[in-house]
Amino acid sequence: MDDSHYCPHTPEERGEMLDLIGVASVDDLFASIPEELRARTFNIPPGMSEFEALARMRELAAENGQGIVPFIGGGYFDHLVPSVVSHLAGRSEFYTAYTPYQPECSQGTLQALFEYQTAICRLTDLDVSNASLYDGATACAEAAMMALRVTGRRRIVVDGCVNPFSRQVLKTYLGNLDVEVLEIEPLDGLLNRGELETVLDDGVAGLLVQNPTFFGTVDDYSSLADLLHARGALLISSVYPVSLGLLKTPGEMGVDIAVGDGQSLGNPLSFGGPSFGFMAARKALVRNMPGRMVGETVDGQGRRGYVLTLQAREQHIKRHRATSNICSNQSLCALRGLIFLSSLGRDGLTELARLNRDKSEYAKARLEEIPGVSVLRSAPTFNEFTVSLPAPAGIAVAALLGQGVAAGVPLSTYYRDSERLMVVTVTEKRSRREIDHLARQLEVALCG
């Protein structure tokens, strides 16, 4: 086998190039590196052909459990992905391009991102969107930092119903800044509004909520917007984009900044990434947004075109005074999101959301038929709901996992006094047969 993988030069070419440079060997090109700074060891195993590497990857993939039926979410959702998404996003010209810093030869990426931004604005009913962030969790953190910047205050309030991973990331992001993060413990799987009122004061920069919540409950935060705006604070909502096929939008609720994870929009589960984070906001906040943004303009002949704009916010211009350190975002995943949304279209997204809810409601009813099982009914739900079991949820989940069913996410890891609770997720991909099977298996596990 040949070990020159992807390095094209023949020995003759290499020789001629070295002659032109005026050195005797490739090693001479590294002469500026003092001997004592050279690598002490370098123990990477020998290489192999693409066929052997692919075989090794296949072996690794086969070490995972195969065909597990997921009734779990946790921020990632097992949704259908139309074939067109991968085929189109996989076009070489999208795939192997860099950030569109040279707009004339990057109109493909730029127009697509402009269309993406528009789709996010329409989905959330907000005015402006950036061209994507890393993921939903970091988008929450960026939104919190944005609220701190906009208000010049030093306190962020976070609803405990927000996805615990998002809350952890937010705390990590803010951990070294001179700011306070205040969490409100959930009440019946909902924001404890009483508790909120006691902590709201003029030091609060913003409140982060989530809809639907980590418990699956659906809420209307419209009244909170007024409450916060009256105090000069911002309302930030993390949303599950598929749910916006049905649910009241951040814009309708008066939310200032909406964020979320775009995995559910045409990105595969892929063991947790890549996906993308989105962020939309009211127009007034646009100059405080992090991340890239594409704007429309014209060329010298008046032809419409697209460019990266407001770059003065960004790190490559503003350095440590930038709105964020973010450089690479998740363009390709955002493109997948755009293609996904465009392939379903207006009515398709509504239909998708309905399917999710219908399946979930069916599962709710089936699970409630099991003796000792009850569903948390403090609020309506979308495609996730919280179930109370007559035994520790962790044990039941572990038992079903052995049968190839991921029955739900036990809450005890994330909330105290929740040993018997778990959150069940039911997307449009789960068939009636699979739901019935879940109910049967769970009944067996619980009742023997």
């Binding site: 860099y98 004339e104 572990a398």
Partner: protein, 478 residues
Amino acid sequence: MRLIYEESVAGRRGVALPASDVPVSESLPEELLRVVPAELPQLSELDLVRHFTNLSRRNFSVDTHFYPLGSCTMKYNPRVLEDAALLFEAFHPMTALLPGGEELCQGSLGLLYDLGQLLADITGMDEVCTQPLAGAQGEMTGIMLIAAYHRARGKRKRYVLVPDSSHGTNPASAAMAGYEIITVASGTQGDMDMELFRQAMNDQVAAVMMTCPNTLGLFNPRIREICDIAHSHDALMYYDGANLNAILGRVRPGDIGFDVVHVNLHKTFATPHGGGGPGAGPLGVRQALIPFLPLPRVRMDEHGRLCLETESELSIGRCANFFGNFGVLARAYAYITMLGRQGLMRVSEAAVLNANYIKERLKGHYELPHDLPCMHECVFSASRQLAQGVHAIDIAKYLIDRGFHPPTVYFPLNVREAIMIEPTETESRATLDGFIDAMIEASGLAESNPRVLLDAPLTMPVSRLDETKAARELKVCW
């Protein structure tokens, strides 16, 4: 081209969804519902396919054009990496966090663990965390680890020191981790001026962030001295891995004295850039920093099984939802597996050879601020052409008309009218020669007919765009 919204027709349907096999549920209360559906584009699947296929054709890309973008390492992205990543598309990350779930994710966790080991060997670090989602997040996470490290030792330092030639992400990431920035001006070779550096160092400096070779493509032979000075002030050395493509197998940041390193998989390890992401920025650290690494952390137990550490008192917490951009990590893993030791060393050899070849052939035509052997990239200045009123950007735009993606221009900031060229190891000599010829012609045109440069590009769907208008009359949503 029309926007997809301009192609939309009310009532048109694209992809059909499966029929429901469950009863229709009771409607949600009115106040929880959106009033009107989101006005997403409504078009047929054919029109959708045509729209995005034709949009894609309006891009330059590595697969269609030479893309010598300095500091971005636009190398060939082997196609087989796509097939490799596909194998893991169906696995739900939450599975690993369920009771008993790790057992069902030994393949995915094993890949993460092995990749960490390989990257630790490449960078000379003790452990590598694969969670950071991009280089900049790796940087921020790294500086947070440094802060946690100092804090654990009872210190709250104030500053992070960066050279003026550094990537903008360096100071921005340090600022997000709560530090104030001290910028040190460059000396004659583009590295930090040693005198100014010594003066700037003090015990309140938490870390010094550097890249080596530096942004001019030069390897600083005094780098260890810098490390020693920093360490003498109890500051840690941070290595920006953006330029790792130059030194694979020859230099390991850990051996030189760096304490923290991030790696850009979408640069050095051939994962595609995707028009600006996703990337991945794994972070390597020395032993002393391991306790502070973000969670969940992949570990191997005494039986050789992979497991997740989800609790740790000293951890800085979590910097992403799950385990990083797994799909990107999988591609990089397949790439390293394929290339192996010899292949990786060959990468740097060829990358450095190509950059020096371009440097030598162009230096008669363009000002070369630092005529020294370069590493994987070289930086010219268009200062001579400026006399004819031609700027670096004009040369860049002319190259587009010649079928080449422009090099990076106006970076690094410490070179006037900078033109930064990084050819990478995957380009053949014929391609380099074609590019060199075009560069030489541009320099000739600057003398003979600068109009051609100033009017370029003329072969694209649009000519130069009004960026001021874009920012002033802001329209980011149609």
